[in-house]
Symmetry: C2
Subunit: 346 residues, 2 copies
């Protein structure tokens, strides 16, 4: 059965890195994996075309897809518009019930030099942040402001918490069997319930070692002891902050991919970085984060493990052999990197 | 007029570092500054003595004080009690209207080696985080949970935001004239109002350069470009996370002090670190954070600038001459460090 992939290239460098990654996929998958790609407007690009960031057509295509690839969205051009590209992303997450955002952070030895942390603070770092993505302060009601006051609501149900916590435990089982749950249970009612549920669910996973830490302590520990983490699970806003902090540890945002899993529909894969409007169209963006997002999709949505491994290995070899794009300290243009990688795949 | 200082030694290493700091103050201030110190139970120590973390007597003494010194509170012993030491701290902040927490982060050259960040990422770092301390998710109502769901409320009024933002602008005027406002205006209603008010207030301070960044970007920037910050202003929870993250940048929590200013009463001064129950009573804690908290008090509450400078200079000289306590890589016990510092002051 031919798989259907929806590509949302988005804004800024989104289209360039999407094009490169799809070409790589086409070359590598020939004769091995049958798929079709359909592209739809999303984010700022959709605002330009049809006036809103998440057109009905785009949403419907996503709902019928087997997997979704997203480039990047946003830019100064759409700041202050009524419906921003970011609000389109939030609406998409909610409509597709993308409840779990997975962000692996793995330190590559060749990047030690580029990490802001000293080598002994990052060497061996290999963890995944599991962020709840459709609850908490992002979506809770009431949420409004006028010129005199503002209200946002953080709320979680037991079901929401159980779902994400269970996913994190399952993931820990496939890794080093350690789970760090991050909360603010000394202050937040949500965190008290969260901690209680983690405790309860942990009884189903006796082999997994569980640790609870406050979000402020977690922010410190990411700087002082990143290699001690295995799986980190946390609510939406804490996950937003910590996963961005974590992303710079490895020395290059341009190498990091993420997966957002749905409760009952297709998953979405995207680079961790933004749309980088300042370098858009210059053919210097690093396509690796998008290529690795494709690999995550091949593994997670299509069980194409060998194909994913092949692309990933070739990608790292290409970086090692060529130095990669400028953000990595190399000399290659986006298209040159892609060509080098294709040569290696053929 | 004799000034009245209330000392809340608290738990863990709190009493040891408080004793040292008060002895230093006694020696240094002789003939220069008239004060009396009265001590009251607070936190776990108060739970042990009278069953609750913030006894009425303690609160009343604080309300009548000219300034308050706090050691540290909390410990495993009081985890899960109904009223925790931490809840006492939150109640104290609210009762005293401690609306603004100021945390200076200044990189000392001799600590470059101890920072988790590479030297080129921290050298020259010198900023202050201004954290709103009695609003937002910490105190908003409704706030409750049962076994099925949980709710916390984030809310701010215009007045609350104006107050903290204005303080931050005033502080920026006395420094490098740069203000970074941290919010999550792409998601939170509170942040939209916050950003709008920062914009409005900024018109009264045309010489101050203002930058708005999202909290996730701020967590990245603290790792990648800490030296570019001057004054950072943000709401309560974001401030909690970012100031803890910032505190490890300098390489030693044991050197960092903070001030919490009141709307209409005495200010409170305390180290940034916790009560470190694992090393309590061993005479190895670093008293410097408490000593520098005393210096902040002398400057901010009592305008004793020369005296504060004298103590601070002697403190750094003592560290340089002796290597300081173990956390700094030195050999001195808490009491030995104190003696060395007293010798230098005499
Ligand atoms: C764009 C923004 C709404 C989004 C978020 O806060 O979730 C982004 O920061 C992310 O982490 O994907
Ligand atoms: C103890 C806790 C309630 C407190 C807070 O979250 O404010 C602490 O982390 C702090 O930063 O002073």
């Amino acid at each position: 059965m031919t798989k259907r992939i929806v590509a949302l290239a988005g804004d800024g460098i989104g289209p360039e890195i999407m094009t490169s990654a799809l070409e790589i996929l086409a070359v590598a998958s020939k004769g091995k994996f049958a798929y079709e790609v359909v592209s739809f407007p999303f984010g700022g690009a959709a605002i330009e075309q049809v006036g809103i960031p998440l057109p009905q057509e785009t949403l419907m295509a996503c709902q019928q897809a087997d997997a979704i690839l997203l480039g990047a969205i946003g830019g100064p051009r759409w700041e202050g518009v009524k419906e921003t590209p970011e609000s389109g992303l939030l609406a998409l997450r909610q409509a597709l019930k993308l409840y779990a955002n997975l962000r692996p952070t793995k330190m590559q030895t060749f990047l030690e030099e580029k990490s802001p942390l000293k080598a002994d603070k990052v060497r061996g770092t290999d963890f995944v942040i599991v962020r709840e993505l459709i609850g908490g302060l992002y979506f809770g009601q009431p949420k409004y402001y006028d010129s005199d006051e503002a209200i946002d609501t953080m709320n979680y149900t037991r079901k929401q918490i159980e779902q994400i916590v269970r996913l994190a435990f399952e993931l820990a089982l496939t890794r080093r069997q350690k789970l760090t749950s991050v909360d603010k249970a000394n202050v937040l009612a949500n965190s008290k319930l969260w901690r209680q549920i983690v405790q309860e669910v942990s009884e189903e996973y006796p082999s997994v070692e569980v640790e609870h830490i406050y979000v402020d302590a977690a922010a410190m520990k990411l700087m002082m002891a990143a290699p001690t983490f295995d799986v980190i699970v946390t609510e939406n806003l804490f996950g937003d902050i910590l996963s961005d902090q974590a992303s710079v540890i490895t020395g290059s945002l341009g190498l990091l991919a993420s997966a957002s899993l749905s409760i009952d529909g297709p998953a979405l894969y995207e680079p961790i970085h933004g749309s980088a409007p300042d370098i858009a169209g210059l053919n210097i963006a690093n396509p690796v984060s998008m290529i690795l997002s494709v690999c995550m999709m091949l593994r997670q949505s299509f069980q194409q493990i060998a194909l994913a491994d092949q692309i990933e290995t070739a990608t790292y070899e290409t970086i090692a052999a060529t130095g990669g794009t400028r953000d990595l300290g190399g000399q290659l243009m986006t298209s040159e990197f892609k060509q080098e990688l294709i040569k290696r795949l053929e």
